[in-house]
């Protein structure tokens, strides 16, 4: 039997995390299929068929799947799941939204956001915001899984030549309709997808002074984050928050400015590649996780850093 990957896409192209999910699926067995559901998704299906290692693309092109609402999509997943040992989706907001609903329809205990495959029924997943790793074993015949994209390499593309199979639409649950979307129109990268993040904490001092953090971010083409303390102090909106109750990030470079390093903040960023801490308090716990620590007043250090980067 094969593994099925649920494609995350915007109607035109695949979202990159789908490729990482294919890699996780290939770790479970050689035959991987992809389900592309949507409306007018021919280009997405062709893109999926070219992913290395994918042998079949199931397509379900129907108006009811246009916005990938879980009320419509979960019954479709349930209708094709019987052909597979595992159904996997990326742990994006899309995958997290639909997979548990499909699991309820199938009476399966889903496994969220795995970071490693041990064997066909055993997986590693972070819990307590990554402060512990749980190894869990599923007793269900069918496994429904979401995959943490940063934990698996992206599958290659271009060498695949999967066959296409159209599958019939399933009855959708009524009651939900899509109104609109407002995607963040920022020149800066999105926090959870950024390669570099510059974050500010209470030490930044004021809402006005947060412009320093933004200027450094712009010099590095980085996203802007914040600690909960900075959010609570009203320096920045809540969606900037990195931490256990905010966003979990793992960029290649994380620069923490004026952040003391409370447990709840560390939980959200300690999987970053390289961590830099700039703080005038040399006892700040952030220095214990930082690869490079600079004990300095950020009001002096950040402008210097921006100047140095421009050179």
């Amino acid at each position: 039997m094969a593994q099925l990957v649920l494609a995350d896409h915007d109607g035109v192209t695949l979202r990159p995390a789908t490729l990482n999910t294919v890699t996780a699926a290939l770790a479970l067995g050689p035959e991987v299929h992809i389900l592309v559901a949507g409306s007018g998704v021919g280009s997405v299906a062709r893109e999926a068929a070219a992913i290395n290692g994918v042998s079949k693309v199931l397509t379900c092109d129907d108006e009811r799947y246009r916005h990938l609402l879980p009320e419509a999509l979960a019954p479709l997943i349930a209708s094709v799941a019987g052909r597979y040992t595992h159904v996997l989706a990326p742990a994006t907001t899309f995958g997290k939204n639909v997979m548990p609903r499909a699991a309820a329809l199938l009476d399966v205990a889903p496994i969220s956001e795995i970071s490693a495959v041990v064997d066909a029924s055993t997986f590693v997943r972070p819990v307590y915001a990554g402060n512990a790793l749980a190894t869990v074993q599923s007793a269900d015949a069918l496994k429904l899984i979401t995959v943490r994209g940063t934990a698996f390499d992206a599958a290659g593309t271009g060498a695949g030549s999967a066959s296409l199979e159209s599958v019939p639409a399933a009855d959708a649950t009524e009651g939900a309709s899509w109104l609109s979307e407002q995607m963040t129109q920022s020149a800066r990268p999105e926090l959870t997808a950024a390669k570099i993040i510059v974050s500010g904490g209470r030490g930044v001092g004021s809402r006005e002074n947060f412009a320093l953090i933004e200027a450094l971010a712009d010099a590095l083409n980085a996203a802007v984050g914040a600690s909960r303390a900075a959010v609570d102090a009203g320096f920045v909106p809540n969606d900037y928050q990195v931490g256990q109750t905010g966003k979990i990030v793992a960029p290649s470079l994380y620069i923490a400015c004026g952040i003391s390093g409370a447990i709840q903040h560390l939980a959200g960023m300690k999987d970053s590649g390289v961590i830099v801490a700039i703080n005038k308090d040399e006892e700040a716990p952030i220095f214990q996780v930082a690869d490079y620590g600079l004990v300095a007043d950020l009001n002096k250090a950040i402008p210097e850093l921006i100047d140095a980067l421009k050179r």
Binding site: A74, T93, K96, N97, V98, P100, R101, A102, A103, A104, V108, A109, P110, S112, R125, P126, V127, A129, N131, A132, L133, A134, T135, V136, Q137, S138, A139, D140, T173, G175, A176, W178, L179, S180, E181, Q182, T184, E190, I196, N238, Q244, T245, S252, L253, A262, I263, Q264, K270, G273, V289, D291, Y292, G293, L294, V295, A296, E304, L305, A308, L309
Partner: protein, 249 residues
Amino acid sequence: MKAMVAVKRVIDYNVKIRVRSDGSGVETAGVKMSMNPFDEIALEEAVRLKEAGTVSEVIAVSMGASACQETLRTALAVGADRAILVETDADLQPLAVSRMLSVLAKREEVSLLFLGKQAIDDDANQTGQMAAGFLGWPQGTFLSSLKVDGTHLVVEREVDGGLESLRLAIPAVLTADLRLNEPRYASLPNIMKAKKKPLETVTPADLGVDPAPRLKVLSLAEPPARAGGIRVPDVATLVAKLHSEAKVI
């Protein structure tokens, strides 16, 4: 219409968790426990709807050991009208919890079932979506805004890279993200009043649900620790290190 809010008792978000050396779980003896922060936001939203006259009654539900009564008393102090504890010593997982919630939501004839988007202990982010699946209700997950519009809801959801707006028929399942509201603290008089509010205790068997876990946790381990870093004396050294040693800029 009535609202039900699921509240989970978890290790407080400010506590640094310790994995037991035998890998059997997390040390909980003497550790501060609190209401899951996302559930606090869900509860606040339900209480605000009651204060606005949209909702007639707010029922708080928790599941687990008898100590969950504390969490329910907190919910009552914040503004829930009554509470239900599903008492069990079983290792509860989202599948059983969502099934029991769906049974209770039907029994109590609620129109809105609120939850936090995830609990900060197991980080599963499943229970609301699964309850919606069991109930056959529409779901509004990861909400940053909620408006009641007659027989429908207009919700705004936090999705990767932005926001999505949906119109949902009532009854519906709703899960709270961070921006939905800022939860209040319970006042001392309300904490005193909460002690007199009704708290019913039922068992999984009363709800006709087998709470046995389907996922076996084989072990729990600390993630690999970060190697200690170095201090740099000035900005120039920092930039040089990032450039030539770490190669990240």
